[in-house]
Amino acid sequence: MSTIDAPRSPLVSPQRRRKRGINWEKWGWIYMRASGVVLVVLIFGHLFVNLFAGEGVKAIDFAFVAGKLADPFWVAWDTLLLWLALIHGANGMRTIVNDYANNRLVRYILLGAIALSTIVLLTLGTLVIYTFDPCPAGSPADLLPSFCPVP
């Protein structure tokens, strides 16, 4: 007596066969959830300190920002906020483009534009956070804020 094997179907159809390596879709999915949780804290902390605590929104001026960026705690906070939020947003836009841009060329242009703008914004933002100097040496006194030490 012969038996019939359990029915088999190809593991994955050829067009769906995935090459081995890092599973970007999975890690992208995990990143969105993990960064989302951290961003809730970072964003509401940012809004509370800037708009509500102390004198509230009236306290915001050049000196307020300069004061925050002089504190290593807020430098770290803003860096984390910048990177997590920008990559979170860019990954979300990448997802939408992958879903809706069916034309290969259009998709590549849009994905390239998202990647480029993300890199430019991350670079500029990080530069500002770490190189910001409210009282650059050698500037004329009339261009400097009032709290800078008079040379």
Partner: protein, 248 residues
Amino acid sequence: MEHKPSVPGEVPTFTATLIIRRFDPEVDEEPRWQDFDVELHATDRILDALHKIKWEQDGSLTFRRSCAHGVCGSDAMRINGKNRLACKTLIKDLDISQPIYIEAIKGLPLEKDLIVDMEPFFDSFRSVNPFLMAGGAPKDGKERKQSPVERARFDDTTKCILCAACTSSCPVFWTDGQYFGPAAIVNAHRFIFDSRDEGSNVRLDILNDKEGVWRCRTTFNCTDACPRGIQVTKAIAEVKQAILRGHP
């Protein structure tokens, strides 16, 4: 006392307007909308209305139906913009002061009127190995035993009738049809969480793909569309968690 035979009062009828998206591939370049006025009872279903049209007004109206009682999954269609089974949608649940719009489910190739080509849908279904994968004979040589608790784990996803209402309601499936779709994942879930099955890692690997569970955007259209009340989005989320864990 004289006993009168109880004569049921006549059930009132009314006229409803159905606007159906017609497509005859031999005549039409593009689908077109056609109006039908049908005399109906409140207790009639959309399927009854379609039958009345086909039998009394226009015999060329084409649609699938088989059991007509919500089990075979043949007559999923888009009724007033929502995927429903025509045989489970009562006229009284719709606002008949407005016309009722009926069209074929979206995202699958339209063949004629309300009939679509279901092959891409079944291809996805087939590719998740929707059958018991068990190597060798059961331990005592008789049967594969399962406790009621183990059975309850995947009870919800055993209810699927493969009507494609969920998959064809999914906006990600509409885009390019490459996504496995909710129905295939539901049927994978049915075996992944079955204690008798030994192929869950194969299925998790198949669904851990760009076109697999990660394309689910949790829009809940599938859960809303399911005529069997399966918590489809929840099932997909459980498969995602199983992939992250590496086992069911």
